[in-house]
């Protein structure tokens, strides 16, 4: 898979070289035929050697890649003046969610995201990016702050899911997620979510009810893990490849289903290989969507958000209407 991603990067670089050469030749009226031919045959060779496009399960594995940039890595590269805020004011500070004020091209925004850890020590602190209810309540507190001071909300999604533990249940995991969904729907400020890695079910969605949903090209977003789905429906975790494909959890799938607004390309053959380039792409896309949203009347924007969510799903109307 690693090799696959590198192949893709090489292909993209070659394609760029060819484009540039063509442009140059045209601009200066030169004949670059011979050189072009050489590059093109090299490209063809490379494409032949490159394995098939990534399968859904390979994307799942890429989305979980330990060397991918995490929320704070993006925050550092995209925003300036980040000032973190802590705690839900009720129970504790859940460090599997981070958030605070930051500036996007100088403009204040509230950033909130899941935070995974890079090694065991960090993961113990971050609980592998799996929040407890207090994490979601902290996130909501911050989003309400943003609403109060009329600054946009940007959320970053990267979690295997909400933590399924005893304390989480005792403190109302379901209630915390449900409340976030309802309150995010009601925000009066612009909101954008970016899925950067794994979008694990309700635990991801609890940060994801936004005006725009953006997704990195190798990120996934699913109602259940491929492994969990395989175990339940195929009765064996071995079927995870099939489950991953059936669930339609990749970024292009979700654009097709009308859920994700835009896929953000990963630089240099994958976010894990090029943090800076990928962060740059995220920043550009974010900035563009935020500018569009900022122009809208706040009530129209909220109505558009409601209409968007109301239209999600697919069903057959009954033959005779009773309403």
């Amino acid at each position: 898979m690693e090799a696959n991603a590198e192949f893709n990067r090489d292909i993209r670089e070659l394609e760029l070289q060819i484009d540039r050469l063509q442009e140059l030749a045209q601009a200066r009226g030169l004949d670059a035929g011979g050189e072009l031919k050489a590059l093109e045959s090299k490209l063809a060779q490379l494409k032949e050697r490159t394995p098939r496009p990534l399968t859904a399960m390979e994307r799942v594995q890429l989305a979980r890649h330990p060397q991918r940039p995490f929320t704070l890595d993006y925050v550092e590269r995209i925003f300036t003046d980040f000032t973190e805020l802590h705690g839900d004011r009720a129970f504790r500070d859940d460090q599997s969610i981070v958030g605070g004020w930051a500036r996007l091209d100088g403009r204040t925004v509230m950033v909130v995201g899941h935070q995974r850890g890079r090694d065991m020590k960090e993961n113990l602190l971050r609980n592998f990016g799996m929040p407890h209810p207090e994490g979601y309540r902290k996130a909501l507190r911050l989003m309400h702050l943003a609403d109060k001071f009329r600054h946009p909300v940007i959320t970053i999604i990267d979690t295997p899911g909400a933590y399924p533990g005893m304390g989480a249940e005792e403190r109302g995991q379901a209630e915390a997620i449900a409340r976030n969904l309802r309150e995010m729907a009601a925000l009066r400020v612009p909101s954008i979510s970016v899925v950067i890695g794994e979008g694990g079910s309700g635990g991801a969605l609890a940060l994801g009810v936004t005006d725009r949903i953006l997704m990195l090209e190798n990120a996934v977003y699913s109602v259940i893990t491929a492994e969990g789905c395989a175990a339940i429906l195929w009765k064996t975790a071995e079927a995870k490849e099939k489950a991953a494909a059936a669930l339609k959890l990749t970024a292009p799938d979700l654009v097709e289903l009308g859920i994700v607004d835009e896929v953000i390309l990963e630089a240099g053959g994958g976010a894990h290989l090029d943090w800076d380039g990928t962060a740059e792409n995220v920043k550009h896309t974010l900035t563009r969507h935020l500018a569009e949203l900022a122009e809208m009347d706040p009530e129209d924007r909220r109505r558009a958000r409601w209409t968007k969510y109301e239209s999600m799903g697919s069903w057959q109307e009954p033959e005779e209407h009773t309403t």
Binding site: M166, G202, S222, W234, W306, E310
Partner: protein, 289 residues
């Protein structure tokens, strides 16, 4: 807890062998042999011990709406299998089997009618339809019920019973959590009362959306209510859960539901909450002489 559940299952299967199950049913809680007829007349509550047996969705409509007053909406709405989902069998085949068994298009009944004379919108989930799972149809019907509530200025009541989001519609199912919650956000701002009634079992995505968002959350006694299922938690923490974990009484103790209500008294309790929220007067007490 694991032991407790296993034992319960044994009792049930033993009961099936011992008594003709079309006429009698053995209460899994107290072991009493019950006439099905008598159980039905008692809203599927064991007359001996008060154990709440699962009740079919129509039973809640009868229980809550004044006699003959219910108008059902969107009965024939069906899933369109948006992903072309195929596991060990095709999803449309699972849907068809569930439809044959239940006589309805998906896992929820919606409609409207009077409750103690107050017009309400009602949605009742059907656990027997693919585990009461929420896909696009459940999401759309709940959303329509909430929107109708908002339009008509009538309270919304949802009776939940669900294993969570429906895997066979992938992330579209997940988005139904957002969709229904957005509809409830509008209802919330319009100050229209919303009563959530949680029955056994209510877990996963339904709990993590509309089931927990009531202006009053009411639970039936002994119902399993949670986000993660008990088995998933046990696998994660690698230990057995204590008895009563994620049951209604546990949720009441932890502040997640307002009240536990005996099914036989449910209608009166819902009406009392609604009258408070709607600013209606206390009903006159009927004198017996």
């Amino acid at each position: 807890m694991a032991w407790f559940r296993k034992e319960k299952r044994k009792l049930t299967s033993a009961a099936r062998r011992e008594v003709p199950s079309d006429v009698f049913e053995k209460c899994p809680e107290c072991g009493e042999i019950l006439y099905r007829n008598r159980l039905s007349q008692n809203a599927q509550v064991c007359p001996a011990c008060g154990h709440h047996h699962r009740m079919e969705a129509e039973g809640y409509v009868e229980l809550l709406i004044d006699e003959g007053g219910f108008t059902e909406t969107d009965r024939g709405m069906k899933s369109s299998d948006p992903l072309g989902f195929f596991d060990l069998k095709p999803y449309p085949q699972r849907l068809a089997a569930a439809e044959r068994k239940s006589g309805r298009g998906d896992a929820v009944i919606t409609g409207y009618g009077p409750l103690e004379g107050m017009p309400v919108n009602l949605a009742v989930m059907d656990f027997s339809f693919i585990g009461g799972s929420m896909g696009s149809v459940v999401g759309e019907k709940i959303t329509r019920a909430a929107r109708r509530s908002e339009r008509e200025g009538e309270p919304l009541i949802v009776v939940s019973a669900s294993g969570g989001a429906r895997m066979m519609e992938g992330v579209l199912s997940l988005m139904q959590l957002a969709k229904t919650s957005a509809a409830l956000a509008r209802l919330h701002e319009a100050r229209i009362p919303y009563v959530s009634i949680l029955t056994d079992p209510t877990t996963g995505g339904v709990t993590a959306s509309y089931a927990m968002l009531g202006d009053v959350n009411m639970a039936e006694p002994g119902a399993l209510i949670g986000f993660a299922g008990p088995r998933v938690i046990e696998q994660t923490i690698k230990q057995a859960l204590p008895e009563g974990f994620q049951r209604s009484e546990f949720l009441l103790e932890h502040g997640m539901v307002d009240v536990i209500v005996d099914r036989r008294a449910m209608k009166g309790r819902v009406a009392a909450y609604l009258r408070h929220m709607l600013g209606l007067p206390e009903p006159a007490v009927e004198k017996s002489d």
